[in-house]
C-alpha cells in the first residue's frame, strides 16, 4: 500500500505565526502516519538583532524584552547580564535577588500556562480554565511588584528598577502557598489519571542521544534524561545561593515533559520562599555608563523553556556592535521533527506543544494540500482531530474529573 499516491503532503502553519519563532511543518502523511517532516521557520522574524545595533543599550533592554512576551524577563536578564559583564559592573546583592525572584515567578506563570495549553491541545479545556485561573494570581503579583502583568521592565543595566517593599514579601509567600497547593493537585491528577497518562505516554519520543545531538534544551532535554540546567551549571544572579534540585525524567516522551515541568514548579516554589526569606538589604542598582567599553560576553539564562543565550559585542559607544539572541524554542524546534517521525497526525498538536513553543496558545492556520486541491484548516481543527482520533481508540482525557472550588 505504501505507494507514492497515498502520501498526502500537509503544510502545517504558518498562517498564524504566533510568537518569537513561528514555524511551518511540511508533514508527509501516509494514512494517519507521519512519514516525513520538514521545517520552515522565520515567520516572525522582525529583525531585532539589527535593531539592537541601531539603538542604545538602554533602549535595547526594552526591545530585547519584547523578543518573547512570555519569557520577557529571560531575554532582558540575559541581555543586561552580558552588558554588565563587558562593563565590569558588580550587580548589587539585592538586585540579584529581585531579578531571580521575578525570574522564578515568571517560571511559575509560564509553566502553569503551558499546563493549560497542553490540556487544551488534548481536548481537556477544563484544565485550561483551571490552570489559567490559578495563573492569574501570579499575574496580579507581577502587576503589583513590577507595574505590569507582562513585559515587566524591571531590568536595567546594573540592577533593577523597582524595589520590593517589606509588605509585599508576605503577599508573595501567600500566593506561593496557594499555588503550591494547586500544583500538588495537578501532580496528583497527572500521576493517577490513567487516561492522561495514556494520552501522553510514548508520544513524541526523543531519546537522550537525539536530544544531545539536536541540541534540545530546558524541560524538553531534561525529560529525555539530559541533566542540564544553567541555573545550577553556570549560576547567575542569586542562583548560586539557593538550594534546589534539577528535575529530570527518563520517560523521553510528552508525559515526561509534563512531569518535569510540574516538578520544576515545586522546586520553584521552594526557591521563591528562600529568596523571600534571604532577601538582603542594600541598593538595587549601580551606576552604569552610557558608553560600554569595547569587549564581548556571552550570557546564559535558564528560561522556562530552556537555555536562552545572548551574545553582546560592545565597541565603546553607546550602541552595541552586535547582539545575537538564541531563544530556547529555536533550539527545541530541531527536535520536533524527530519527535514527530513515525508518529500520528493526531499527536502533532501535543508534541509540538510539549516543547512549549511560543505559539501553541494561538490558533494557527493549516493549509492541507492534496496535489491540485488546496484547503485551509485551523490549528484548532488539528487539535480536535487529535482529540477525536484518540477518543476512537479509547483514550479520552476530557472525562477526567476536576476537583476544586467549582460549582460541581
Amino acid at each position: 500500500m505504501p505507494d507514492k499516491e497515498r502520501i498526502v503532503r500537509v503544510p502545517i502553519g504558518p498562517q498564524h505565526p504566533a510568537l518569537k519563532e513561528p514555524e511551518s511543518f511540511m508533514v508527509d502523511l501516509q494514512g494517519e502516519k507521519i512519514s516525513a517532516v520538514t521545517l520552515r521557520l522565520g515567520y516572525n522574524h522582525r529583525g531585532i538583532e539589527k535593531g539592537c545595533e541601531e539603538r542604545t543599550y538602554v533602549q535595547d533592554v526594552y526591545l530585547v524584552e519584547r523578543v518573547c512576551g512570555i519569557c520577557s524577563h529571560s531575554h532582558s536578564t540575559a541581555f543586561v547580564q552580558a552588558v554588565e559583564e563587558i562593563a565590569g559592573l558588580e550587580l548589587p546583592h539585592r538586585a540579584a535577588y529581585i531579578r531571580t525572584l521575578i525570574a522564578e515567578l515568571e517560571r511559575v506563570h509560564s509553566h502553569l500556562l503551558w499546563l493549560g495549553v497542553a490540556g487544551h491541545e488534548i481536548g481537556f479545556d477544563t484544565l485550561l480554565m483551571y490552570t489559567w485561573r490559578d495563573r492569574e494570581q501570579v499575574m496580579d503579583l507581577f502587576a503589583e511588584l513590577t507595574g505590569n502583568r507582562v513585559n515587566y521592565g524591571i531590568n536595567t543595566v546594573g540592577g533593577v528598577r523597582r524595589d520590593i517593599s517589606p509588605e509585599q514579601l508576605p503577599r508573595i509567600l501567600k500566593v506561593v502557598d496557594a499555588l503550591e497547593e494547586r500544583t500538588k493537585y495537578y501532580i496528583e491528577l497527572a500521576m493517577t489519571e490513567e487516561t492522561l497518562a495514556q494520552r501522553l505516554s510514548g508520544v513524541g519520543k526523543l531519546s537522550k542521544e537525539d536530544a544531545v545531538l539536536l541540541g534540545a534544551v530546558g524541560p524538553t532535554a531534561r525529560a529525555s534524561g539530559v541533566d542540564r540546567d544553567t541555573r545550577r551549571d553556570d549560576p547567575y544572579a542569586a542562583y548560586g545561593e539557593l538550594e534546589f534540585q534539577v528535575v529530570t525524567d527518563d520517560r523521553c516522551d510528552v508525559f515526561g515533559r509534563a512531569v518535569v515541568r510540574l516538578g520544576e514548579l515545586m522546586q520553584t516554589y521552594s526557591m521563591i520562599r528562600q529568596l523571600v526569606r534571604q532577601m538582603p538589604e542594600g541598593p538595587i542598582t549601580v551606576k552604569a555608563p552610557l558608553r560600554i567599553p569595547a569587549g564581548e560576553a556571552v550570557s546564559r539564562y535558564e528560561a522556562p523553556r530552556g537555555e536562552d543565550v545572548h551574545y553582546v559585542k560592545a565597541n565603546g559607544t553607546d550602541k552595541p556592535e552586535r547582539v545575537k539572541i538564541r531563544a530556547p524554542t529555536l533550539a527545541n524546534t530541531q527536535s520536533v521533527a524527530k519527535m514527530l517521525e513515525d508518529g500520528y497526525l493526531a499527536d502533532l498538536p501535543i508534541v509540538v506543544a510539549a516543547i512549549d513553543p511560543c505559539f501553541s496558545c494561538t490558533d494557527r492556520m493549516i493549509a492541507v494540500k492534496t496535489r491540485e486541491d488546496a484547503r485551509t484548516m485551523g490549528w484548532e481543527e488539528l487539535v480536535q482531530y487529535g482529540v477525536r482520533w484518540y477518543r476512537e481508540r479509547g483514550v479520552d482525557v476530557s472525562k477526567i474529573k476536576m476537583r476544586g472550588d467549582s460549582t460541581a
Binding site: 480554565m129 486541491d373 484547503r375 480536535q384 483514550v395 479520552d396
Partner: protein
C-alpha cells in the same frame, strides 16, 4: 383537524418556531451550565438568539470547489428532518400531532437524517479536513444508533406498540412500570450524547469544537441552520426520551402538562451538560469500543428484562 390548524401546528406551535425557540433556550442552558462548571460566568440568556440573528446577517461564502447544491441543501434538510420528527412525538399531551402505528421507527430514522446531512455537507465542502470529519461523523453513527434503537424499542415490547403515543399512554396507565426501563433510559441518554455529537465529537457550543469537521467551510445562514438543527435535535431527542421513559403528567391540564414537559426536557439537558463537563463524561468517551462492548449489551439486557416482565404481567 383542518388544513389550516395543521399548517399552524407545523410552522408555529408546537412545530417549527416553537421548537426553534426551545432549541435556543436549550443551547443557553447547556452553555451556561458548561461555563459554570468551569468557574466562568457564561453567556447572557439571549446569547443563542443573538448568534443566530448575527449569522443570518452575515455574508454567505460557498467555497468554489464545493458542490453547491449539496452544500446549500444539507443544512436545510437537517433542520427540516428534525422539525418533522418533532411532529410525531407527544410533547405534553397524550398524543402527538400526527400519531400512527410505527411512528417511533419513523422518528428514529428522521433523527438519523441530520447526521447524514452533516456528513454530506462536510463531504461536499471538498475540504480535506471537512471530509475527514464527515467520514468520522458517519462512522460513529453505527456505534450509538444501534443501542439507541434497542433502548427505545425495549419499552415498546411491554406496551406492545410501535407508536410513541401509545407507548406513552401505556406507561401512564401503568405508572410503576417505567422503573423497569431505567437501564434503557441511561442507554438512551448516552446514545443521545453521541447523536448530538456533544461529548465525543463536535460539541456544537464548545468554542473550539464547532470549527472541526463538517462545518469548517460553512458560514452565515447555512451555519445558522446547522446550529439550529443541532439545537432542535437536542430538544427533540430529549422529548423523545421523555415521552418514552418518563411518562408523567400526561393527563394534566395543558398548562400544567406543559410545565411538567419543560421540566423533563430541562432535566435531560442538565444531565447532558453535566456529562459534558464532569461525571458522565466517563460514559461517552471511548465511543466505538464503548458503545459496542458496553452500551449495546446493556441495551440488549433491557430487552431481555422487558421480555421477562412481559411474561410475568
Amino acid at each position: 383537524m383542518t388544513v389550516g390548524t395543521a399548517v399552524v401546528n407545523i410552522l408555529v406551535f408546537p412545530g417549527f418556531l416553537f421548537l426553534v425557540a426551545l432549541g435556543l433556550a436549550g443551547e443557553f442552558v447547556d452553555r451556561k451550565l458548561y461555563a459554570r462548571f468551569q468557574n466562568r460566568q457564561g453567556p447572557p440568556w439571549f446569547q443563542p438568539v443573538a448568534d443566530v440573528l448575527k449569522l443570518f446577517g452575515k455574508e454567505d461564502v460557498i467555497p468554489e470547489e464545493a458542490d453547491r447544491t449539496t452544500f446549500n441543501l444539507a443544512p436545510v434538510f437537517a433542520l427540516a428532518a428534525v422539525v418533522a420528527a418533532s411532529l410525531y412525538i407527544p410533547l405534553w399531551s397524550a398524543t402527538s400531532l400526527f400519531p400512527f402505528d410505527g411512528d417511533l421507527i419513523v422518528v428514529l430514522y428522521l433523527l438519523l437524517i441530520p447526521t447524514v446531512c452533516f456528513f454530506l455537507g462536510g463531504w461536499y465542502s471538498r475540504s480535506v479536513f471537512a471530509t475527514l470529519g464527515a467520514v468520522r461523523a458517519i462512522t460513529q453513527v453505527f456505534a450509538y444508533e444501534i443501542p439507541l434503537f434497542v433502548a427505545l424499542l425495549a419499552p415498546s415490547l411491554l406496551a406492545n406498540s410501535w407508536s410513541i403515543s401509545k407507548i406513552a399512554a401505556y406507561y401512564a396507565a401503568h405508572p410503576w412500570l417505567w422503573l423497569v426501563n431505567l437501564i434503557g433510559f441511561g442507554v438512551a441518554l448516552v446514545s443521545l450524547l453521541g447523536k448530538l455529537e456533544r461529548v465525543p465529537f463536535d460539541t456544537p457550543e464548545a468554542e473550539t469544537e464547532i470549527v472541526a469537521g463538517s462545518f469548517t467551510e460553512y458560514s452565515g445562514r447555512r451555519l445558522a441552520f446547522f446550529r439550529l438543527a443541532i439545537n432542535c435535535e437536542a430538544i427533540v431527542g430529549a422529548s423523545l426520551i421523555a415521552a418514552v421513559f418518563l411518562p408523567f403528567g400526561l393527563g394534566l391540564a395543558p398548562w400544567l402538562g406543559f410545565l411538567v414537559y419543560l421540566g423533563k426536557v430541562l432535566l435531560i439537558l442538565g444531565i447532558l451538560a453535566l456529562l459534558r463537563t464532569l461525571f458522565a463524561r466517563l460514559r461517552i468517551d471511548q465511543m466505538i469500543d464503548f458503545c459496542w462492548k458496553v452500551v449495546a449489551p446493556i441495551a440488549f439486557l433491557q430487552v431481555l428484562i422487558n421480555l421477562v416482565v412481559r411474561e410475568l404481567i
